[in-house]
């Protein structure tokens, strides 16, 4: 559908994009991602013929872009920009009807067919209800839908989206991208995205652009990798699979920049996601963290893995075995302090707590966030609760927030 060959593109005397080669298949949803200033929008401007290539070619359906007349190109391709400022008070209907411009000859006016097509475009985008209001009086989300309706009225085979949803709240973003998704098949969609996870969900294929060159191209699974994100966006990230969509889900690791290099070793006994926040923030502060015993695929286990934290593990849904127990004891021996979280406790992991009954001198902290009660997730018939109570009686402090815990760690 769209072929880009060896494209160099930019402004007079300033090339932004170099050596771009890519092709977009018919009927797909193709994403363009990359940091600010990488050339995403420039690429879209090239496709929309706002900028002319200084070298290389762009072809659409085998025909070079420069061969299209203004009207023919507008019949082929619609564009939804990030934002549209409309200087005069046109009604929504007027704006949508402007999409029919390439089809109406200079000396004639719109036909019944044009009116019908514009009406249909407003129906699809859910804008018919306010068709007679001024386009400057409707909300941002509504206006963006109007602009999409205008693009649809062009009956294009290609739709370019230039961060078309980035000014909108999440519900409007999804609403608009779903409209696009429903068009997929008939219309080829090429969109610039800032939100990597929206891009991951909606795009079939994507290209990652970095400093004017292609950094990666392929399916979201191929493009959204830890290495690519590190290289292009300079962020650490955790890539999970969104359980509901099966698409990669990017969780950026936000480095707090606190840079406190504590030397203490902390062992965290957790599970079921109860320790992820601690693992993350304590390792961010520079503590030497170990964790376990955790079942492989436990949320806390995945967090530790992604952060490169050593972790004693056991096969999924298996009780803590002798070997793991041995490793756990070794970790506790090494640790300056042991933290127990408000995790669910059952026969499988009760061993993690039993270990603490003869821990000796190593201080223990019980971390339960406000409102949580460790005993509430006790599936051991009260044994876990007894162990915790015993620990508290023999001097283990109960801490209710990360701040409290971190403050306490500093004092040791």
């Amino acid at each position: 559908m769209i072929e880009i060959d060896d494209l160099t593109l930019g402004y007079p005397a300033l090339d932004i994009l170099r050596e771009i080669n890519l092709s977009v298949e018919k009927g797909g949803f193709f994403g363009i991602i990359g940091p600010n200033g990488s050339g995403k929008t420039t690429l879209l401007k090239g496709l929309g013929r706002i900028l002319l290539p200084s070298a290389g070619t762009i072809t659409i359906e085998g025909r070079e872009l420069s061969e299209y007349s203004f009207r023919d190109l507008a019949k082929e391709m619609g564009v939804v920009p990030q934002e549209t400022n409309i200087s005069f008070d046109f009604t929504v209907r007027d704006i949508v009807m402007m999409g029919r411009h390439p089809y109406i000859k200079r000396f004639s006016s719109e036909s019944v067919k044009d009116v019908e097509i514009a009406r249909h475009a407003m129906e699809v985008t859910n804008t018919l209800a306010f068709a007679d209001r001024s386009v400057n009086e409707v909300s941002g989300g509504e206006r963006q839908r109007v602009i999409i309706a205008r693009a649809l009225a062009q009956q294009p085979r290609i739709l370019l989206l230039d961060e078309a949803t980035s000014h909108l709240d999440i519900s409007h973003q999804i609403e608009i991208l779903n409209i696009m998704k429903n068009l997929k098949g008939e219309v080829t969609i090429v969109g610039v995205f800032h939100d990597l996870n929206l891009a991951s969900y909606y795009c079939d294929r994507m290209v990652m652009i970095d400093e004017g060159r292609i950094a990666a191209i392929g399916t979201p699974n191929e493009v959204l990798t830890r290495e690519n994100l590190k290289k292009t966006f300079s962020i650490d990230s955790v890539i999970r699979t969104n359980p509901m969509t099966g698409r990669p889900y990017v969780i950026p690791i936000i480095n707090s920049g606190r840079q406190v290099h504590e030397k203490q070793r902390v062992h965290i006994i957790c599970g079921g996601g109860s320790g992820s926040d601690l693992i993350y923030s304590l390792s961010d502060l520079g503590y030497q963290i170990t964790a376990g015993v955790l079942g492989i695929n436990d949320t806390d286990y995945l967090t530790a893995q992604n952060l490169g934290i050593p972790c004693v593990s056991e096969a999924p849904f298996t009780a803590v075995g002798d070997e793991s127990l041995y490793k756990l004891k070794a970790c506790i021996k090494e640790a300056d302090i042991v933290v127990v979280t408000g995790m669910p406790v059952g026969p499988g992991n009760i061993a993690n707590l039993r270990v603490l009954e003869d821990i000796g001198d190593t201080p223990v902290r019980v971390y339960q966030q406000a409102g949580e009660n460790i005993c509430a997730q006790d599936f051991t018939g009260g044994e876990a609760g007894r162990i915790i109570s015993g620990l508290v009686e023999s001097g283990a402090k109960v801490l209710n927030s990360q701040e409290e815990l971190i403050g306490d760690l500093r004092e040791i």
Partner: protein, 344 residues
């Protein structure tokens, strides 16, 4: 078409006709209507058609009317002046509409790209160096020439960004004005004449001017053919390209036609201000922003406004320059409309 637009259009057409009739009757000498009814209509028609078709020169037209002097005042003095006032007003309004649409700027008027200062310079050169000979031609050349220079200055890599057009228009206007000021400073006795020209008026118009003035509505109609493109341009240049508008070509056409119309207007009546600025605004408040209806209604409204301003000065104010009246009456009316819109 909306109901408002329909009412406005019909109303304006009626107003044009009524205003023309009243304007011809008004003047320093009052002429009774019966003096304008031919004594023998059939003889008049026969004589006119004879001279048209077989080239036979009949008796002068005035001899068919009860009072030949009254007829001559109306036909040779007032009618060309009425026609010129209407058509010049119509042209300035059309060019103003086009410029406001092109620049998406409410301060834009026909003179924004140097037309008035170019025209004024041309006219002053004619007054000072040629004793007024060829004044309309030099004014026209100055007005259109300024636009071409502005366009040429702004052109880069096949594009003339509107911001650059606007700014280079202002720069060139100031440059030309400084030359004009120098000329006025050293003009001596001609200063008075230049000042009069600058304020604008219809003192010496004849049928020759009126004939040339008919080019204005013609060009205005051409401008109106680009209404849909101008509507789309209000979404921004990139969006207009995406909707199939050849934006650079559109700019050239709009600039060329506007400067042509303004050049003719300026060559006939001098630099009359305010019509081209205010009329499109007022009509946009009434009929909305759609140029398909805005163009014809603005053109008619501009014509009516200038006709009345000229008729007032001609009949009651001892021929003070019409530009004085347009701004004096127009500005407060404009402020009134603005305030009313702010309250709405």
């Amino acid at each position: 078409m909306q109901k408002n637009s329909l009412i406005a259009t019909t109303g304006l057409i009626a107003l044009v006709i009524i205003s023309m009739i009243i304007a011809m009757a008004l003047g320093p000498t009052t002429i009774p209507l019966r003096d304008l009814v031919p004594t023998d209509l059939w003889a008049l028609l026969a004589s006119v058609s004879a001279s048209l078709f077989s080239g036979v020169e009949g008796p002068p037209l005035s001899s068919f009317f009860p009072d030949p002097t009254s007829f001559m005042i109306v036909f040779d003095v007032r009618l060309p002046r009425v026609i010129c006032a209407i058509l010049v007003g119509c042209g300035l309004a059309a060019a103003g509409t086009a410029m406001q649409g092109l620049f998406k700027n409410s301060m834009a008027d026909p003179y924004i790209i140097g037309t008035s200062s170019g025209g004024a310079l041309g006219a002053s050169v004619a007054i000072i160096f040629l004793g007024g000979l060829g004044l309309p031609i030099l004014a026209f050349i100055g007005a259109t020439g300024a636009t071409f220079i502005v366009y040429a200055i702004s052109m880069r890599h096949g594009r003339a960004p509107v911001e650059t057009l606007l700014l280079s228009g202002i720069a060139l206007s100031m440059f030309l004005s400084s030359i004009l000021s120098f000329l006025m400073y050293s003009a001596g006795k001609s200063l008075h004449q230049i000042m009069f020209w600058l304020m604008g008026g219809f003192w010496n118009v004849s049928w020759n001017d009126a004939t040339i003035a008919f080019l204005i509505p013609l060009a205005g109609i051409f401008l109106a053919f680009y209404s849909r493109d101008l509507n789309i341009l209000s979404l921004g240049e990139d969006d207009a390209v995406h909707l199939g508008v050849n934006v650079e070509r559109l700019k050239q056409i709009l600039l060329f036609l506007s400067s042509f119309v303004t050049g003719i207007a300026v060559s006939i009546a001098g630099a009359i201000g305010f019509i081209g600025l205010i009329t499109p605004h007022v009509m946009r408040l009434i009929v909305g922003p759609d140029h398909r209806i805005l163009f014809p209604t603005s053109m008619m409204a501009g014509g009516i406004f200038l006709l009345w301003a000229d008729t007032l000065t001609r009949s009651f104010f001892n021929e003070i320059p019409v530009g004085v009246i347009t701004a004096f009456v127009g500005a407060p009316f404009f402020i009134y409309l603005l305030r009313r819109r702010m309250q709405a």
